[in-house]
Subunit: 350 residues, 2 copies
DNA sequence: ATTATTTAGGCAAAGGTTTGTTTCGTCTGG
DNA sequence: CCAGACGAAACAAACCTTTGCCTAAATAAT
């Protein structure tokens, strides 16, 4: 019909431009464009407004709208500085859900050195840049830190200092899945190599492992180390010095896993012959390693999406509570787990 | 002195609240708080304004300010949906520089299926959500697509359809670095395994390789494949079917590298004995693989930072042009490269 | 003493929307 | 013929800052 885009657009089209072109008041245009159901309007005017808006390439000014509505339609995602591909999956889930729900997201990386208390990011809300905070920070010693006050927020897979703001995955369940799987193959002596104890995810996994091993009467060694290749390397080096290795080892992150495998290889420890390995991060590359590594795949995109939903619930309704992502996690068997050497495992199909 | 934060803050403090408390006009408060040099003011009032602002916990409303100033102080970063850790480094550089320059960044993931033309993201600018666009999209067939019109933007490590908007790294230089290194060891027959030809980065690497090999009289085989583990696997599988392998192979991404190594391993091809390998992505994990992989480390954080600088230059000054990041790249020798079998290489220290 | 200049700050418009309230006709029922 | 109801749209305030211009008093220059 008419040209979609004016050849040279001097200036962005505003409501008032449409109003003048059609000959109605600006408020009428606003209501029509927003589909205000309380407004009744002559079909002819209605059409003219719509078509004029289209023709002028009208875009609502998000600033003005946000100013008036007291809602920006943006949330801020605060992430630690990591290169773990798992984060990409979480981020993806969050971004996609945010888009579905009509929010844009602002990203903020927390400096590794001198991590800020999560409350320091609420300036984004205070300055009206965002309606709420998605906190996926590394978050040490949260207990005494005090929560984020005055800004809607949720913690992602971390228990924050204030209850009712957490969106978590079932890490204990993942640990039990690992334990049950290996125990079913005959393992009795376990290790967990994981990140620093101050990280909440780590803490949850480790204490779940302790509890579960105690219940089942299994041996458990825990090693905390930096969440890097080097950390993994160092953790097994320390274990080797302390005596015989457990027969199966869970590793907290992909980065650590590389270090763990390298250290075992160098020490001449066979995987899975001498020790079986399970990674708590899943990644496609695991299937392509020299010995493909069994892993537990967690519902990370769903975690991101759930966090966004929870935050929006807080922003819009104010209601909320802790939520645990219920999407199933899966243990993906590859080649890094075998029955322990000394024991002939229960025969098993497959 | 006075309490930093009022016990219960009914409502965010505004300029007018400060003005009333001090007994001056709101415009005066604005000028003082913004340090307007044209404003002269009694020291006493000046102090009272500052201290009242602090006491009320005043935060400027970014929306109102942006509306008036016609500048949001935000930029949008559009990234493809990838899990390559290299992206994290780029993103980090960009976010950090943006923060230094007083901008916040909005993140947007481009759907993998049905990638949008980059122009489709300019709504962010049109709606005044951002001042400009950092385009790191996958960007296929850019030539005829037409540029982003009407919104300040730069392409990150991609040549966009409109000239003068590109911030790139020296991929050809990286390729030559690889070629020179291997040729220096006596290699004459090269392969490049890289992503889809429609990706601009890939295109630049591949054509640089072609040119350089032609000049130096070296053999070159090129294999395009998906930028995934599976793609890498498939690429070497295809090469194996076609006859004898080149003696050295450059691999475009970390993900592909895993597939490449797995396929070689399965085929019984020794690395670096039968074929040497160089990765164009550097990552810490490479040092921990069974045979640590030589890589070329690119200045990714600097790329991100440069892109932000270039975009801000456009936003603020309007001036700009293509920029190539000049920070040095480094070849990091590990164990995956050796002289070709048939040739006794020039003896070399280390 | 008068004019010019500076100092210290007020006034008001503008930026683009949203939304509660009004207004002005016209139609319906009585 | 009139009260009330409804349809269609206008009015205007509010959201919070910024900034060009103006004023009034005080000081300086003549």
């Amino acid at each position: 019909m008419t040209d979609d885009v004016p050849a040279v657009q001097r200036r962005a089209s505003r409501l008032i431009d449409i109003a003048e072109a059609v000959g109605v008041h600006v408020s009428t245009v606003s209501r029509v464009l927003n589909g205000d159901p309380a407004q009744s309007i002559r079909p002819e005017i209605y059409e003219r407004i719509l078509s004029t808006a289209r023709q002028q390439g009208y875009r609502p000014n998000a600033l003005a709208r946000a100013l008036k509505r007291r809602r920006t339609g943006a949330v801020a995602l605060v992430v630690p500085l990591v290169r773990n591909p798992a984060w990409a999956r979480l981020q993806r889930g969050a971004l996609q859900r945010a888009r579905e729900r009509g929010y844009v997201v602002m990203i903020m990386e927390e400096p590794t050195e001198d991590p800020k208390p999560p409350g320091d990011y609420r300036y984004l809300v205070e300055e009206s840049r965002a309606d709420g905070l998605l906190l996926a920070t590394a978050l040490r010693v949260p207990e005494h830190a005090g929560g984020v006050t005055g800004a809607p927020h949720v913690y992602i897979n971390r228990r924050g200092p204030d209850r009712g703001h957490d969106v978590v995955m079932d890490e204990p369940g993942a640990v039990r899945m690992f334990l049950d799987y290996a125990a079913g193959l005959g393992h009795r002596s376990f290790a967990m190599i994981d990140g620093p104890a101050e990280m909440d995810t780590v803490h949850r996994r480790v204490s779940a492992a302790r509890r579960a091993c105690a219940t089942r009467g299994l041996d458990l060694t825990i090693r905390h180390a930096a969440g890097t290749e080097d950390g993994g390397w160092e953790a097994v080096t320390r274990m080797l010095r302390r005596g015989p290795l457990p027969t199966v080892c869970g590793v907290g992150s992909l980065n650590q896993l590389f270090g763990v495998m390298a250290a075992l290889r160098q020490a001449g420890v066979a995987v899975p012959g001498d020790v079986s390995l399970v990674s708590f991060d899943d990644d496609e590359c695991l299937a392509y390693l020299q010995v493909p590594v069994t892993s537990i795949s967690m519902p990370l995109p769903e975690l991101g999406a759930a966090a966004v939903d929870a935050l929006i619930a807080r922003i819009e309704g104010g209601q909320a509570g802790d939520v645990m992502v219920r999407e199933p996690m899966r243990l993906i068997p590859r080649d890094s787990v075998a029955p322990p050497r000394a024991v002939s495992a229960h025969p098993r199909g497959q």
